[in-house]
Amino acid sequence: MGSNPVTWLGTPPFPKAAHAALGDSQLRANLRKATGTIRAKRAEAVAELSDWERLRRAGEAIKDDVLSRLDTYLERLERAVTERGGVVHWARDAAEANDTVLRLTREAGADEVVKVKSMATQEIGLNEALAAGGVHAIETDLAELIVQLGHDRPSHILVPAIHRNRAEIRDIFRRQMPSAPPWLSDKPVALTEAARRHLRRKFLSAKVAISGANFAVADTGSIVVVESEGNGRMCLTLPRTLITVMGLEKIVPTWRDLEVFLQLLPRSSTAERMNPYTSVWTGVTPGDGPQRFHLVLLDNGRTNALADPVGRQALRCIRCSACLNVCPVYERTGGQAYGSVYPGPIGAILAPQLVGDMHDAQAASLPYASSLCGACYEVCPVRINIPEVLVHLRAQATAAKGSRGPEALGMAAAGWVFADPKRYEAAQRAGSLARFLARDGWITRLPFPGSRWTASRDVPAPPAESFRMWWRRTRG
């Protein structure tokens, strides 16, 4: 487990990882508060647009169009970026992308880089790779900074430190931030001010910045970064060299298509009409912003997902995290239990596909980390049918496990029973004997695997007579 480049080394399968999280009352309280807050706000922001469903359908179709002709769009994007003075690099996997970024950073003469929050660079473990090459990467997004300073792992796509509350953040800052005064309060305003002071000098002196991309316009070569704090603008404007690492699927065909996504994304993610800052740049603009621009196009398992006609819809994802915020499983376990930078419902379908190996016990456990309640699909701004993909990936997981495991044998036996009404009724008669285990109509203890149910729930005693027996007796 964990030997692939996507999931964290040593993370146990989901049920085991969830065990610790469920017992952490502070984590539970933090998540309850944060997801509760954002759910209500999102619903309000979305209700304001009467054409929301039409926007979702347009977003879905634009992304499907991109995926269906991805090779054409990638070449188009490459041409447009190059024509405008950018340099395009391709990376088959995490190692290749990391090597490229490290080489470009060294060529720019830097041993320190400032980073805009980016899922792609988290996914490939860029910071660790740069550190191994002697380059220090400074996360500048507040939540990423909290995670970095706390030597922690992210637990949310949008707000990687969502599992931390203000008091915990204050403690991390006091310990790890030399400029933070010992009397630093836990008011969000004070914490934000501390982060501003900590990073300001870095912004003003950095030679190289590294970013991800929310969107890339194939026609024009324009790259879009959507953010809130202004750390993104700092990184995208002040350093001389900018390196952007972008998953292959982040393309939109034309500038006009952004009119859909710039409505879908802010309302779905931070529940705002518009996020504070969106930056758009195309190659290099003489005299304005970075004078060297590199774009690294990253595969790292994306073509594996693309090859699956059902699973490829996960590549429509615009990383808004609405599915995390509404997910009853995520709300209780938090993100780290999912064992990768992509937690929650989208992580449960994306991470296993990027890993591409259902023999990996951790990856294979992720599609089961859902009650299939469908709340994620309901809010997804690009209509990814997450429950459908979960069930699809479960079929791949069972196929990888083979037909001789206890679960497979049990399912085969159940299939055999249900295949014949006579056998089924015989099983009902046999099973109804369990009623003698019951007290007051409920059974409180069953042997394994039923014990997993009865650890916290009673089971109704089966009646002496099933409905079909009654029907035959009275109506047959």
Binding site: P328, Y368, S371, L372, V391, A419, P421, Y424, A455, S466
Partner: protein, 238 residues
């Protein structure tokens, strides 16, 4: 028309299936229960045993061919049949004619007052598949509001999953239990004596949790409430 009882209700909750029969006959329907029926295959399908769900979907299409409607007292099984059987074995008249109970009452029979009487304080949990897969909307609540004597109390955070999720409840038993705990808290907050829903699977989960803590709140399927009248109260409630 035919009743598809579902394997869970047939085996564990015969009262619910009897209630459906009584209710539909009271409304003038002729109900058949073809004995060839077994299971819709949802457990296999949702757990990743797609191939083993296929013969069950095939069986369903065969057993219910020729009925002009099939009524299912489960949003989740009706959803399985309507949404996924066509993908497994192709569309058939049986799949398109399958209705969840409240859909059948409101859309096909056109009734919202079934003449029921149920003098209890009740809260309703909209099950995930009835809510999001089938989109039954407020049909169940409309039916419940018309029940005489019934004191309907709104369930807080009603649309949050109870944590059942089929094999999820055993594969991720602890997470499932954490979800159940919150659902139970909401149910208890209403002060209801009965929690109802359109799916016995979810009710088995919520009811199993409530029973374990001796909460004194009964799980009762919606069909049993709707079947109950002043002249003939539903046996299970006594």
């Amino acid at each position: 028309m035919a009743l598809f009882a579902t394997c869970l209700t047939d085996t564990f909750y015969p009262d619910t299936a009897r209630a459906v029969v009584r209710l539909l006959e009271r409304l003038g329907c002729t109900v058949d229960f073809p004995l060839g029926q077994t299971c819709c295959g949802q457990m296999h399908f949702n757990t990743g045993y797609r191939e083993q769900a296929k013969p069950l979907a095939q069986r369903y299409a065969g057993v219910f061919a020729g009925y002009h409607a099939v009524v299912v007292p489960s949003g989740s099984c009706a959803g399985m049949v309507r949404e996924f059987h066509p993908g497994l074995v192709g569309a058939s008249p049986a799949t398109t004619m399958t209705y969840e109970l409240t859909e059948f009452l409101v859309d096909v029979l056109g009734v919202t007052d079934v003449g029921a009487y149920f003098p209890h304080r009740v809260t309703y949990h909209p099950t995930c598949h009835s809510l999001r897969m089938l989109g039954v909307g407020d049909r169940p609540l409309t039916l419940l509001r018309a029940v005489r004597g019934l004191d309907l109390v709104e369930l807080p955070f009603a649309e949050t999953c109870c944590g059942f999720g089929g094999t999820f409840a055993v594969k991720n038993a602890e997470t499932s239990t954490a979800m159940l705990a919150d659902k139970m808290r909401c149910v208890l907050d209403t002060g209801a004596e009965v929690v109802t829903a359109g799916d016995n699977s979810c009710l088995m989960h919520i009811g199993g949790g409530l029973s374990r803590v001796r909460a004194g709140v009964r799980p009762v399927h919606l069909a049993e409430i709707l079947a109950s009248t002043e002249e003939e109260p539903w046996a299970a409630i006594r």
